[in-house]
């Protein structure tokens, strides 16, 4: 396995003077994504157990959530995944401008996602539903658990969106400064992987929270 990886990494960078290990860099990223999957996996596990225990309460509590905002945010995130994928592909093909435009579009979609999230949470707060609120604590246990999981899981996901935005902004600067180029793009690829992971987590959060009817 090691032999094979060295060969392909050498053949990839043979013409470049400085020593780089793009495959090693990507391997590190995938290992990190592995830990992210387990982090969210633990939360999905808690969700699964409590949904099994309180199916009716979960249904009633989920009625409070706005399916339209959830659907809109799903489409926004899917589109941002598309633009980041095109951005990487464009840079690899040597079209810097397209890459920069697509990366900026990704950031714009991320901001749109967060704005929607802000309005969504603000509505919950207006209805008196936030962790530890009187309204919430007067509800049955199953509903308290549902909203607890909702705030923690979508909150942690939103935090990942913010971190992703910071990383993608760095990539934008790196491309502008030409330290990420058409033959040195592993940083952009790894940032893309992170962004797709954020999208992947949302693909599961969306039906589990917004689509319980």
């Amino acid at each position: 396995m090691t032999d094979q990886m060295e060969t392909s990494s050498n053949s990839g960078n043979a013409h470049i003077e400085n020593h780089r290990d793009d495959i090693g860099a990507k391997m590190g990223m995938w290992l990190f994504l592995f830990t992210e999957v387990l982090l969210f996996g633990g939360m999905f596990l808690i969700y699964a157990v409590y949904r099994y225990k309180y199916p009716d309460q979960f249904h009633i509590a989920a009625m409070e959530l706005n399916t339209n905002i959830g659907t809109l945010n799903t489409i926004i995130l899917l589109t941002s995944s598309l633009t980041v994928a095109i951005s990487i592909s464009a840079l690899q093909k040597g079209s810097r401008i397209i890459s920069l435009i697509m990366l900026s579009a990704t950031l714009l979609f991320a901001i749109m996602f967060l704005i929607n999230k802000y309005f969504e949470w603000a509505t919950k707060f207006e209805h008196g539903i936030y962790p530890g609120s009187k309204v919430l604590l007067n509800k049955p246990n199953g509903q308290i658990l549902f909203f607890g999981l909702y705030f923690v899981m979508t909150g942690l996901h939103a935090l990942h969106v913010v971190i992703g935005m910071v990383i993608l902004t760095f990539m934008l600067v790196f491309i502008l400064r030409k330290s990420v180029t058409s033959d040195n793009y592993v940083k952009l690829e790894n940032s893309g992987l992170y962004w797709h992971l954020v999208d992947l987590i949302w693909i599961f959060l969306f039906p589990l929270f917004y689509l319980i009817q």
């Binding site: 392909s8 495959i23 391997m27 999957v37 659907t71 489409i75 589109t79 689509l211």
Partner: protein, 94 residues
């Protein structure tokens, strides 16, 4: 071997995958509105799994990357499944 990790999808492929993902989103929202009892959750999770497969294979490029990355992904998925099964066995039969 030289082509490994060097394979590029065209923009059109990405756009088609994106359209499919949006279509699946519409489908999962529509299906959730229909009362299918206990199958609702199963169908929603199946659609989510198909969407994930598309994102991982095409957007995340794993199809044309190092095989070891697939091993990582398989291992993390397997670990999760084992944890879920063990937890539910404990929860249901304690």
């Amino acid at each position: 071997m030289e082509e490994k990790g060097k394979h590029h999808f065209g923009y059109l492929t990405y756009i088609l995958v994106w359209l499919t993902l949006v279509a699946f989103t519409a489908l999962t929202v529509t299906v959730a509105g229909v009362s299918l009892g206990k199958y609702t959750l199963l169908i929603a999770l199946l659609i989510a799994a198909v969407k994930s497969a598309l994102v991982i294979n095409i957007f995340m490029h794993i199809k044309f990357d190092e095989p070891i990355f697939k091993v990582f992904l398989g291992l993390s998925g397997f670990t999760l499944i084992v944890i879920f099964i063990l937890t539910f066995v404990d929860f249901l039969y304690r």
